[in-house]
């Protein structure tokens, strides 16, 4: 069969590399199959275990970032212009890296299969953060599963490193030496046709560097699917063996990777990652709830390349960010070659995984108005595990009262309760009354009757009904305790 290959240029473990990639090949497959590097392990191939964690270094806002990613979900083509660091480059048995040294001393490895992934996650953490605290360590390692150690020895090693490690020794000198190259990098990606006897998951993978280029590609390939972070599409490629004729990756369009404060609120570009949100001063000051949400969403590795716009475009009924964005009255800028329109997020989801996105259109920005001072805004995510789990029910609330203490804004959105994430209509029944006069039980029952969740592997319908009710009770309990 004929495929469109990508010739990309990047750096791997300190050396300049040019690679010819079959379309949509993951970084993990590239390492294992094309490079003969086997230190990076495949355990789940869907970004949920962290065994395949590698680190990418790239320029972002005038600095070089070191970020851990799941190589199984990271299309290798995205490596273009970046520096890929794998376990092979970080220390050797004869000369361990300080992280490896600490993990050895603390007996932080047993069967060893997850160890390279833990080392790489820890490397990205310590490369970017001096003396991380316990919470930062947990956040960095929550995306790495270990079935042997029970994690205690790993955590101990990290805490000791944080106390004693000289930060200068974390990023190897050869990696530092390469950083100027990342700033200077200009080579474009090449596409060319090639025959292959292997069956690849996609016919072509395009990496436009500008919006114009993206629109032209969309016009040329109406059957194409947009890929952004790829944290969902690559799962479908790896596990469901989804075949996609053409993929257009918009994550490399710099103009889309911006967060700005405007009159109509905070504008978040489509290529902004969750980690970008976490680092953003604007988000921290003006949308602290979004920051809180980002912390409990997915894993460190996924947050490093997953995007908010991807979560929206994917339109999963249980997309973690969606209830909060709904109650914040977020809207989307949808752009095509010919036009641009703004649509409220609540009108974007049509039915199960169907959206209002027209042919040739992309989400280019998310606009989130800044809620008024004093509004009560909160979200709750109910899941089996504390971190890196898909919710059974996720909800968010926004309540505002007028100077008389009467409720003037009441929005509640639910995920996992219907075929799309959506705002409750019944919740407006509390408008015009005082929060303390709400009959919590009654309201909760009303809401529970508005939504008819289904049973699936993450929970029964009855469980979800209970959660809907209890999450409302929890919000109201908190509202009642608020200082006026």
């Amino acid at each position: 069969m004929d495929y469109t290959y990508n010739r990309i240029s990047f750096f791997m473990n300190g050396k300049a590399v040019s690679a010819d990639l079959p379309p949509a090949i993951s970084t993990l497959d590239y390492l294992n199959k094309s490079c003969g590097l086997y230190g990076t392990k495949c355990s789940c191939n869907e970004g949920d275990c962290g065994a395949c964690t590698v680190v990418i270094a790239y320029v972002r806002e005038g600095a070089v970032m070191y970020e851990a990613i799941n190589s199984c979900l990271y299309p290798a083509a995205k490596l273009h212009g970046k520096h890929l660091l794998t376990i092979e480059a970080l220390g050797s048995p004869d000369q361990l890296h300080p992280i490896q040294e600490a993990m050895l001393r603390h007996h932080s490895t047993q069967c060893g299969y997850c160890s390279p992934g833990f080392v790489m996650s820890a490397f990205a953490l310590f490369a970017m953060k001096q003396k991380p605290d316990r919470e930062e360590i947990l956040a960095a390692l929550e995306g790495n599963l270990c079935r042997c150690t029970g994690y205690d020895s790993i955590l101990n090693a990290m805490e000791e490193l944080s106390r004693t490690q000289n930060p200068e020794t974390i990023v190897p000198t050869w990696a530092r030496a390469l950083e100027p190259e990342l700033f200077r990098f200009k080579t474009p990606v090449l596409c060319f046709n090639q025959q292959s006897s292997s069956l690849h998951s996609s016919g072509a993978y395009h990496l436009p560097s500008s919006l114009e280029e993206a629109f032209s590609l969309l016009e040329e390939h109406p059957e194409a699917r947009i890929i952004n972070g790829g944290t969902d599409i690559m799962v479908q490629v790896n596990i469901s063996r989804l075949k996609i004729p053409v993929l257009i990756d918009i994550s490399g369009i710099d103009s889309l990777r911006q967060i700005s404060l405007n009159k109509d609120g905070v504008r978040i570009g489509a290529a902004v990652t969750y980690s970008d949100l976490e680092r953003s001063g604007i988000v921290k000051t003006d949308l602290p709830w979004l920051l809180e949400l980002t912390k409990v969403l997915a894993s460190r590795q996924i947050r490093n390349f997953g995007t908010l716009s991807g979560n929206i475009a994917n339109a999963s009924p249980i997309g973690d960010s969606l209830p909060l964005l709904l109650v914040l009255n977020a809207s989307l800028i949808l752009s095509s070659k010919a036009s641009q329109r703004q649509i409220p997020l609540k009108d974007f989801f049509l039915s199960y995984k169907k959206t209002a996105l027209a042919a040739g259109e992309l989400i280019t920005e998310i606009v989130i108005p800044i809620p008024p001072q004093g509004a009560y805004i909160k979200f709750i995510k109910a899941a089996k595990r504390k971190a890196v789990d898909i919710s059974a029910i996720a909800s968010a609330i926004c309540l505002e009262t007028d100077p008389q203490g009467l409720i003037k804004t009441a929005r509640l959105a639910l995920g996992g309760a219907a075929e799309i994430p959506k705002l409750s209509s019944g919740f407006s029944s509390i408008l015009g009354i005082k929060p303390e006069d709400i009959n919590a039980e009654e309201l909760a029952n009303l809401l529970a009757s508005e939504f008819q969740p289904i049973s699936d592997v993450r929970g029964s319908a009855a469980y979800r009904q209970t959660l809907i009710k209890n999450q409302i009770l929890k919000y109201l309990d908190e509202v009642s305790r608020r200082q006026p």
Binding site: R105, Y113, P116, S153, K384
Partner: protein, 755 residues
């Protein structure tokens, strides 16, 4: 406390340089296997048309039952499991194997196979299977005293049913094997197995070749937990069969979702019970029927059931007891060994009962446990005498370490104040029997070579799977030969170097293989000692006896001389003097026996004891909880390495916490597992660590312990995780004393119990 020595493979693991099967360069000409898995749980395979697959470019061969040269049988103890079935017994059962040059081609070709099925009614529920009398073997029974009479005369009786659920192993390294053709019909099989002997034996039967033609090599496993004791065999056989038929290297590598779909899990149990007890809390009688959901084939189900029965009374001495057990056939993938091997399922029942009785009697469960606990010289229901029982000391320590009495008061206060959150507390003890209950498996071998430069190579029948058996064996060799660890290399397991190896299982790895290595080293030492005395005399004229030579730190000295020999020097001398520098060590665990018909014997060499306390804070609205603190007291003989044992204790605790409170297997109406990825099947992550964790290892110096006074550690601490379940239950019963928490205690189960 010294943390030395470190993991023998630690530097390799942490730099990604350690070798795992299939995570290595493809061999020239290698073929990749993919399987047609049955979509039905119970059906007759009427027709299988592989012609389109076979014709697809890049496909080398499609293998089905008709291609098997020997017996189509991979059942081991009970011969009931074919490699490729005609009557399909579970969804996910392999029906055909495609071998192709490329994995994507193999996968595509599988979709071209046409199969016709005649569906038969499947059974998934253990109760239904039991009613149909679908058992692998007749009911098993262990009995002592007179239960009927004791129940009749008991002040109170209580009956109930208790269920525990299955668990996916989730070893990080999925099932895999590579087979390589050698000359003269020999095949080398690199298998991720816990049992080289079983793989070799089964492959030789399937291929119709003598065992010496099949060489099994196991570098190490990326985790196993019992899931590669028997469940690895089928994949090793597939690879070997592929190689036998094509004369090419063949790789079998399951993806995570394939692995989770088609492999067996921990046995779900359902148990009916009645206890007789007094108002003062003495338990006089216990009648129990354990039903194990064995899945499609016998696998290890009967032995697992038996271990559940052996652990049914856990730490309690109950004078009148009758334990019955039936392992039932259902149409799920054959359930198999999993850390604890039935013991957790048996123990869960009696611990549930104690918690219930305590709440009925308004007593502290720990008081009831103390009141009924084993004392020295008590007999177990199967007639093994309890000796050196440290339970009282374990409870004392645990009470002191956790400040138990104060903690209870604190909890009561908190719970009175708090409406939306409740705290709970529970203690779970363990008495875990060590030895294979199939007595013949309690044997092990080791081969030790000292090379001319004084470096040492050790092979045992044991498999390194992360439990650091290699490190422990090296510690034993280092102690016995008096040389530094760095001088010792513990080799991969290989059936040519050590044959007929028992599986590395039942926590016996270091007992059996460590002892075999010790014996081999002692034999070499018996020749080296006189040689050393001779050399001392010839060098310095020191008159000394062989027995007085001290081997330590790579030097040999004697009290009569200030000079010492180096180990290397002695080895060179011994070689020149034609003294053997190698030995084969053989160990069999003394005194273990069990009569299955009578249910009497001494199945265990010794017991491991301990107890754990967990404290949780439950959010009544979400059903989610925080694990505030955990205290563990673990009796462990004289540990070979406290750090390794600590790692086993915490690892087992967290794995068990997953089983009890998080991990949930679901299958559809067709018996197909739905939870086949880490996105739907949640194992604990780093945020599930207790906020506060304290472990005290009690050095007991127990004389019945094993190599250098150490005790096994792999499985016993698995029981501790149950304390999280019972602490959650305790928190729930603060709201509703009658609430029944189902297993596992997920937020969903908790909210249901609170309703």
């Amino acid at each position: 406390m010294s943390k030395l020595p470190y993991h023998l493979s630690g530097k390799l693991h942490l730099t990604g340089s350690s070798r795992f099967i299939a995570d290595e360069a493809p061999l020239p000409g290698m073929l990749y296997a993919k399987f047609l898995f049955s979509p039905h749980a119970h059906a007759l395979l009427k027709d299988l048309d592989t012609s389109a697959a076979e014709a697809y470019p890049g496909v080398f061969k499609v293998i089905t039952a008709k291609d098997i040269p020997g017996q189509n049988m991979i059942g081991h103890v009970i011969k009931d499991e074919p490699l490729f079935p005609s009557e399909i017994m579970y969804a996910g059962q392999p029906l055909a194997m495609v071998l192709a040059e490329d994995i994507s081609i193999a996968e595509h070709a599988v979709s071209l196979i046409k199969a016709e099925y005649e569906e038969l009614p499947p059974v998934f529920e253990v109760r239904t299977a039991d009613q149909n009398q679908a058992w692998y073997v007749p009911e098993r029974k262990i009995e002592s005293g007179d239960v009927a009479k004791a129940l009749a005369s008991a002040e109170f009786t209580l009956s109930g049913t208790t269920s525990s659920a299955g668990q996916e192993h989730f070893y990080m390294e999925t099932q895999r094997a590579r087979a390589i053709p050698l000359e003269d019909k020999q095949i080398m099989v690199l298998s991720a197995t816990q049992s080289t002997m079983e793989c070799q034996e089964v492959i030789s039967h399937v291929l119709g070749l003598p065992a010496h033609n099949i060489i099994i090599e196991v570098p190490r496993l990326g985790g196993a937990f019992g899931g590669k004791e028997r469940a690895a065999t089928i994949w090793a056989v597939m690879a070997a069969l592929g190689t036998y038929l094509t004369k090419r290297p063949v790789e079998v590598l399951l993806s995570r979702d394939e692995d989770m779909k088609v492999t067996g899990k921990r046995h779900p149990f359902r148990s009916d019970w009645t206890v007789g007890y007094s108002s003062t809390g003495e338990i006089s009688a216990y009648e129990l029927t354990l039903l194990a959901n064995g899945g499609a084939y016998a696998d290890l189900s009967v032995a697992i059931l038996e271990r559940a029965m052996f652990h049914a009374e856990n730490c309690l001495h109950i004078p009148n007891i009758r334990i019955k057990g039936r392992a039932c056939i259902t149409n799920l993938p054959p359930n198999t060994a999993y850390r604890g091997f039935g013991a957790p399922q048996g123990i869960f029942v009696i611990e549930s009962i104690i918690e219930k009785l305590a709440s009925k009697l308004g007593r502290d469960p720990l008081e009831l446990r103390r009141l009924n606990m084993y004392q020295d010289r008590d007999l177990t229901p199967y007639g093994q005498r309890i000796e050196h029982c440290p339970l009282a000391a374990v409870y004392d320590k645990l009470e002191a370490n956790s400040d138990y009495q104060k903690l209870k008061i604190e909890l009561d206060k908190y719970n009175q104040m708090s409406t939306l959150y409740k705290q709970g507390l529970a203690i779970t003890p363990v008495k875990f029997g060590i030895s294979f209950t199939t007595a013949l498996l309690n044997q092990g071998s080791a081969l030790v070579w000292i090379y001319i430069d004084g470096s040492v190579s050790v092979t045992t029948g044991g498999i390194e799977m992360g439990q650091e058996l290699s490190t422990k064996v090296a510690i034993v060799v280092s102690r016995t030969l008096g040389i530094p660890i760095e001088q010792i290399h513990v080799e991969s397991s290989n059936s040519q170097r050590v044959g007929n190896a028992s599986p590395t299982a039942a926590s016996t790895g270091s007992d059996i293989n460590g002892n075999a290595a010790r014996i081999a080293c002692e034999e070499i030492m018996s020749k080296l000692r006189p040689a050393a005395a001779e050399l001392m005399q010839s060098k310095w004229g020191v008159q000394t006896s062989a027995d007085s030579m001290v081997f330590e730190g790579g030097k040999i000295s004697c009290p009569r001389s200030s000079d010492s020999l180096s180990f290397t020097e002695l080895i060179r001398y011994a070689y020149n003097s034609r003294i053997p520098l190698a030995a084969y060590g053989y160990y069999s665990t003394p005194g273990v026996h069990f009569d299955r018909e009578k249910g009497i014997g001494k199945p265990f060499h010794y017991y491991v004891y301990g107890a754990a306390l967990s404290r949780v804070e439950l959010d009544l609205l979400s059903g989610e909880h925080r694990l505030l603190s955990v205290h563990i007291v673990h009796e462990n003989g004289s540990s070979l390495s406290a750090e390794i044992d600590r790692g086993q204790i915490i690892g087992a605790f967290i794995q068990s916490l997953g089983w009890c409170s998080m991990e949930e297997l679901k299958h559809d109406a067709h018996g197909r597992y739905l939870t086949v990825s880490p996105s739907t099947y949640k194992i604990p992550g780093i945020r599930d660590l207790p906020e506060q964790l304290q472990i005290e290892i009690l050095e007991s110096g127990a004389e019945e312990a094993s190599v250098y006074g150490s005790k096994a550690t792999g499985e016993p601490p698995f029981i501790y995780g149950m304390s999280v379940f019972f602490a959650l239950q305790n928190a729930i019963r603060n709201v509703n004393p009658e609430a029944e928490l189902s297993f596992p205690a997920t937020p969903e189960a908790i909210l249901k119990a609170l309703k």
